[in-house]
C-alpha cells in the first residue's frame, strides 16, 4: 500500500477505453467554448490537459465528468454511451473542481460521511476517517469546513472526490492553494492512484509538472484540440507555444 492506495491492483489487462469523445461541442450563451473535441483515452492512462486561461479546460473536464451536457457530439465513458442522464456511470467518476463542493456548515468528517452514504459506500464512517488521514486532516476532522484555510479545503475536496473510489478521476487545477509539502503529497497521491490502475485526467497550469506526471498530453486552444500526443514526444516549450494563437 502506498499512501493508502493498493498499487498491487495494477493496470487493467488490455487497453479498454475509459473515455471516448467524438466532436464534442459546447456553447455557452451562444459562444462556442469547445469545438469539435475528439479524444480517446484508454483505461489506466494519465492525461494532462493544457491550455491558456479560457481555452476550455474546465468545461471539457465538466463535460467528461458528465456534469455538463455538451451542445452536440458523442461521449462514451467506460464503453457506455452517455446520453442525457449518466446515472449509475457517475459512481465511477470523481471530479475535483475549482470550488471544494463541500457544505461549509458541516465538519469535514460529516461531509465525507454524507457523500459516502450518498454513493452507497460500505462503512462510510471508516472510509471518511481513512481519507482524512490520507490528506492530513484527521486532527481537524470535526471542525466545520468554513473554518478551513484554502489549502485545507482543497485537501478536503480531494478526499471528497475520492470517497467512492472512482475509476476515472478528473482534476481541475487541484494544486491551486496548496503549500509545497501538500503539492508533493498530492503529486505522490495522483501517481499512486495511477499505479493502481485509475484513469486520471489532470488540468494544470504548470506545464513541466504536468508533462512529468502524465503519459498523454492534450493541448486546448480556444476550445479546440491542437496537440494530442505522448508526453515522451512533447517538450514544454512546444506545448506552451501551441497554447497561444499563432
Amino acid at each position: 500500500m502506498v499512501m493508502g492506495v493498493d498499487i498491487d491492483a495494477g493496470p487493467p489487462p488490455c487497453g479498454e477505453t475509459a473515455v471516448r469523445a467524438l466532436d464534442l461541442c459546447k456553447q455557452i450563451d451562444g459562444r462556442p467554448v469547445l469545438r469539435d473535441v475528439s479524444i480517446d483515452i484508454p483505461e489506466g492512462r494519465f492525461v494532462a490537459v493544457l491550455g491558456a486561461n479560457g481555452a476550455g479546460k474546465s468545461t471539457l473536464l465538466k463535460v467528461l465528468a458528465t456534469l455538463v451536457r455538451p451542445t452536440s457530439g458523442e461521449l462514451e465513458i467506460f464503453g457506455r454511451r452517455v446520453r442525457g442522464d449518466a446515472g449509475p456511470l457517475r459512481a465511477r467518476i470523481g471530479l475535483i473542481g475549482h470550488q471544494s463542493m463541500l457544505y461549509r456548515e458541516l465538519s469535514a468528517r460529516a461531509n465525507l460521511v454524507f457523500f459516502g452514504r450518498l454513493y452507497g459506500v460500505p462503512q462510510p464512517a471508516e472510509r471518511a476517517m481513512h481519507l482524512l488521514e490520507m490528506v492530513g486532516l484527521s486532527d481537524r476532522a470535526d471542525d466545520a469546513v468554513k473554518t478551513f484555510s484554502r489549502g485545507m479545503m482543497q485537501r478536503a475536496a480531494i478526499a471528497r472526490a475520492l470517497v467512492h473510489e472512482p475509476d476515472l478521476l478528473l482534476a481541475d487545477e487541484p494544486f491551486a492553494g496548496l503549500d509545497p509539502p501538500s503539492v508533493l503529497a498530492l503529486e505522490a497521491l495522483l501517481l499512486a492512484l495511477h499505479e493502481a490502475g485509475k484513469t486520471i485526467i489532470l488540468a494544470h497550469h504548470d506545464v513541466d509538472q504536468s508533462l512529468r506526471m502524465a503519459q498523454q498530453a492534450i493541448v486546448l486552444r480556444q476550445g479546440e484540440v491542437v496537440v494530442d500526443r505522448c508526453t515522451r514526444l512533447l517538450d514544454s516549450t512546444t506545448a506552451i507555444r501551441e497554447m497561444v494563437t499563432a
Partner: protein, 225 residues
C-alpha cells in the same frame, strides 16, 4: 424504491442538520414574518377590525415573504462551495434532489407558520376556535403547493447573481390561486359555517398535484452548474 427513500432521507437530514447548526434561516424568517405582521398591525391600528378574509391575507403576506426568503437561503447553501455540483456528480436521480430540498423547505415553512400564526392571532384577535383543524389543513395544503413551486424556481435562479427580488417575482404570481382559494375556503368555513370542501379545496389539491409532478419532471432539466 428503498434507495430513493434512503437518498431523500439522507438529503433532507443533511439540510436539517445544516440548518440546526446555525439556526440562521429559521430565525431570520421568523423575525421577518413577525415584523410583517407587526407592520400590518400598526398600519391598520386598533381601528382596523380585520375580518375573516383579512386574516388570511395578513398571514399569506407573511408566509409569502418568509417563504421566499427560506427558499433562497436553503438553495444558497448549495451554491456556496458549489456543493450542488457534488450532488449532481453522485448517482442520484435529480427528482430525488428536488424531493430532499422540498421536504426541507416545507419543514421551514411549517416552523414559520408555527411561530407567526400565534403572533397574528394574538395581535389581531383572530378567532380560530370555530374550526382550527380546517384552518390548519387548508394552510398545510397551500404550503405544500407553495413550497413545490418555490423550490423549483429557487433552483432555477440559483446561479444568477441578482437573486434578491427575482425569486419573489417568479413565485408570487404563480401562487395567487393558492392565496385566493385558501382565503375563499376559509371564509366559507368560518363566516358561512360550511364544512371543509368544495371547489376551493379542489383547486388547492389540484395545484399541489400539478406542480409537484411538473417540478419533479422539470428539475432534471434545470440543474446544470
Amino acid at each position: 424504491m428503498t434507495t430513493v427513500l434512503r437518498q431523500v432521507a439522507l438529503l433532507t437530514m443533511k439540510d436539517l442538520r445544516i440548518e440546526a447548526r446555525g439556526r440562521q434561516t429559521i430565525s431570520l424568517v421568523a423575525v421577518l414574518g413577525t415584523l410583517i405582521i407587526a407592520v400590518l398591525g400598526l398600519g391598520l391600528g386598533p381601528e382596523g377590525r380585520v375580518g375573516g378574509a383579512g386574516a388570511t391575507a395578513i398571514l399569506w403576506v407573511a408566509y409569502l415573504f418568509g417563504g421566499v426568503l427560506s427558499f433562497e437561503k436553503t438553495m444558497a447553501v448549495e451554491r456556496e462551495e458549489a456543493a450542488m455540483a457534488a450532488l449532481l456528480l453522485a448517482p442520484v436521480d435529480r427528482g430525488v434532489i428536488y424531493l430532499g430540498k422540498l421536504i426541507g423547505n416545507l419543514a421551514l415553512m411549517l416552523a414559520l407558520a408555527a411561530v407567526i400564526t400565534p403572533v397574528a392571532v394574538l395581535l389581531f384577535g383572530f378567532d380560530l376556535s370555530a374550526a382550527p383543524l380546517a384552518f390548519a389543513a387548508v394552510m398545510v395544503i397551500s404550503m405544500i403547493g407553495f413550497a413545490a413551486v418555490g423550490t423549483l424556481f429557487a433552483a432555477a435562479v440559483a446561479s444568477t447573481r441578482l437573486q434578491g427580488g427575482l425569486l419573489a417575482l417568479l413565485v408570487f404570481p404563480v401562487s395567487l390561486p393558492l392565496v385566493v382559494a385558501s382565503t375563499q375556503v376559509l371564509v366559507s368555513v368560518f363566516r358561512d359555517g360550511e364544512p371543509l370542501g368544495g371547489l376551493g379545496l379542489a383547486v388547492l389539491v389540484a395545484f399541489d398535484a400539478v406542480f409537484l409532478v411538473t417540478s419533479w419532471l422539470v428539475f432534471e432539466c434545470i440543474l446544470e452548474p
